[in-house]
């Protein structure tokens, strides 16, 4: 439905009642101007004039009823007025009921809310992201964006999901539309061409719809970052053919992380620590063992896992309902819930078990059965539905794979701090010892709770003070951003992880690095440190103190004290 159509629907539906209303008024007024009246002596007088007739019909029709004004009526007038009373009450009731019926009409309500949504999006005056699909994943993304003080616009097919979102206590209001995000006009209404639109997340559970959204974005806003959830490889290939879009396959992502955890535990922990929910403590779990693994369920997730585990050189036993071709591993047919099947797969000799079916209760049963047979086994559980989180936590598996959470974390990281995924990839190349050393150093400086990661770009929007200093030909070292504005010698609880300049990344840039306009820096630290850093980047006086060690003061102060600003 076209977003501006509510008004036209009202006009169209009100045609019949309004015409009837006009007709009844016309006949009533006409009659009163034709029927003669009577005076106190019983002599006939002239009928009402048009003004009097209109006045009389107006108040009678609205059932106000002042009596017979301007003078008592004749019998003929009274008969006519009786007819007027019934006729007008009926048409008014009809008109009002038509309006009421219209307001409870579904199509009309959708048109109304679509119009409201479009206006709210048009009036957004700060950067925002479009989130298509507000299921478990989309909901998590919206909540996280809200926590990060970033605005979002939501589209979902299901009104009930949007209603649930409304109940969540968002700090800033999130315009939401119940419509098909794969439709061009709905994407336009959501602000695809809005100048503040900073990215699109296609997170619906329909790969085809996500593909359509990506196609729209690529054609209409080629520069806009697009992040897609995708669960089938064939669709992923088609999406990658578009070019700059990014796809997230939760199964492949998790399988890669599991492999990372097996061959480089320190890197995996660094990854976990940097991408976790800020403020939470990471549980100290054991590292996934090398050796014999059992995978239950050989679907999309199972395939990704087996491919990664094979690459790590693990011995694999597979349990699946249907017999499949087994290339280099044991295959047992069954669901995995039955102890015999687990035993046949060698559960008592296995080091790890992955319950990877798409049914949560089956996964839980498999894990419980396996624990009984082998209490030491390392358990990885796939959790499909968010509502089962407590059940899964109660079982205390070593790792939980929740697709919604993985997609939400990845999507947010790539959108709001694109340097972080690149940093983590570069870290993998540095090796496990490097990661271990870095993480121990950072944990000493920042504490063990999951820190905040953020990206600062040296541009006119954020770092106004730094940009103007550089424009004046002065050098600003990176150290100015990592020290306390109140006491220059003390470090803030933050560290620079990476610096991107002209497409090349520097890992762990040194404090003496001189900043230049266009630099992107990835920081890790506390929320307080981030707030201080924003102040430094924006405030000339604070920056002056941190770079030179002297207070600059205002223009008037400088004139009064005849002091020239220090030159470096």
């Amino acid at each position: 439905m076209h977003p501006g159509s509510a008004f036209f629907i009202v006009l169209r539906r009100m045609r019949a009642p309004l015409i009837l209303l006009i007709a009844v008024y016309a006949v009533s007024i006409l009659g009163l101007t034709l029927i003669p009246g009577v005076d106190a002596q019983g002599k006939p007088t002239a009928p009402l004039s048009f003004l009097h007739a209109f006045y009389f019909v107006s108040y009678t029709a609205t059932t106000i009823g002042f009596g017979e004004i301007p003078q008592a009526f004749s019998e003929a007038q009274r008969m006519w007025v009786t007819a007027i009373i019934y006729a007008t009450v009926i048409v008014w009731t009809y008109a009002i009921l038509s309006i009421l019926a219209l307001f409870s009409d579904r199509a009309f309500q959708q048109a109304l809310s679509a119009g409201r949504f479009k206006r709210r999006v048009e009036h957004l005056a700060e950067p925002f992201y479009i989130v298509c699909g507000c299921g478990e994943t989309g909901g998590k993304v919206l909540t996280a964006l809200d926590k990060m003080d970033a605005r979002a616009v939501a589209i979902d097919l299901d009104e009930n999901r949007l209603a649930e979102l409304e109940l969540e206590d968002f700090r800033s209001e999130t315009p939401a539309l119940a419509a098909d995000a794969a439709q061009t006009q709905n994407l336009f209404a959501a602000g695809l061409q809005h100048r503040f639109c900073r990215g699109i997340l296609a997170l619906t559970n329909d790969d085809q719809a996500n593909l359509a959204i990506a196609a729209h974005a690529r054609l209409l806003r080629p520069q806009l970052p697009v992040i897609l959830r995708v669960e089938h490889d064939a669709i992923a290939q088609r999406m990658l053919a578009f070019g700059a879009t990014q796809t997230i396959n939760p199964f492949a992502t998790f399988a890669r992380l599991l492999a990372l955890a097996i061959h480089a535990p320190a890197l995996y922990r660094l990854h976990d620590w940097l991408t976790g929910t800020p403020g939470t403590m990471l549980a100290a779990t054991r590292d996934p063992p090398r050796g014999r693994w059992i995978v239950c369920g050989y679907g999309r997730f199972g395939h990704s896992l087996v491919a990664e585990l094979k690459r790590e050189g693990m011995e694999i036993a597979l349990i699946d309902q249907y017999a499949r071709e087994a290339h280099g591993f044991t295959m047992v047919v069954g669901s995995g819930v039955e102890p015999e099947v687990l035993r046949a797969a060698g559960v008592d000799r296995a080091d790890g078990l992955i319950a990877a079916t798409d049914d949560d209760l089956t996964n839980l049963s498999i894990a419980l059965a396996a624990r009984v047979l082998n209490p030491e086994i390392f358990i990885v559980l796939r959790q499909n539905q968010q509502s089962r989180a407590e059940l899964f936590a109660a079982l205390q598996p070593e790792m939980i794979m929740a697709p919604a959470e993985i997609i939400a974390h990845e999507a947010l990281a790539r959108l709001t701090k694109p340097l972080l995924p690149d940093f983590l990839r570069a870290a993998e190349a540095q090796g496990d010892d490097w990661a271990w050393a870095l993480q121990s150093r950072l944990r000493i400086e920042l504490g063990s709770a999951v820190p905040l990661c953020w990206q600062l770009s040296i541009d006119d929007n954020v770092a106004t003070a730094i940009v103007s200093w550089i424009a004046e030909g002065r050098d600003v070292p990176l150290a100015a951003l990592t020290h306390d504005p109140a006491e220059r010698e003390r470090r803030l609880a933050c560290a620079a992880l990476a610096l991107r300049r002209d497409e090349t990344d520097t890992l762990l840039p040194h404090d003496t690095t001189v900043l230049s306009v266009g630099d992107q820096i990835l920081f890790v630290g506390t929320a307080a440190a981030r707030a201080e850093q924003e102040l430094i980047a924006r405030n000339r006086n604070v920056l002056h103190y941190l770079v030179t060690g002297y207070e600059e003061g205002g223009w008037l102060w400088r004139v009064l004290t005849k002091k020239r600003p220090e030159r470096l």
Partner: protein, 127 residues
Amino acid sequence: MNFEKVVFGFFIVLAATLNFGFFIGDIDRPELHHIYELFAAIIVNLIATVLKFGDRTQIGAIHLATSLVADLQLIAAASVWAIAVHVTGEGMSPMITASVVSLSGGALLANIVSLAILVAETVMMRR
């Protein structure tokens, strides 16, 4: 034949003819401009306006605009008449008659535009 079009055309033409009927005659002679004709013109004009509601084409929008202009002019004429006869008690003097009739003349012009659009729309239609 489309019955909706018949009704639509009927009301537009009737609005213009009634308006014309009231307007025609020496401008300052009240006996040549019957007040019932003005009343009928207002009612038919209002109905013609409502009939144009909800048409989202460009032509529909112009139709609605001309109709609204005609309504405005005719209601202004009726208000002048009501004030002269009932409020100031001046009655239908030549001056008042002239202003009532000239206001209805403005409405007539708007109605003629409406007619022209109706004719143009009909001619453009190839079916």
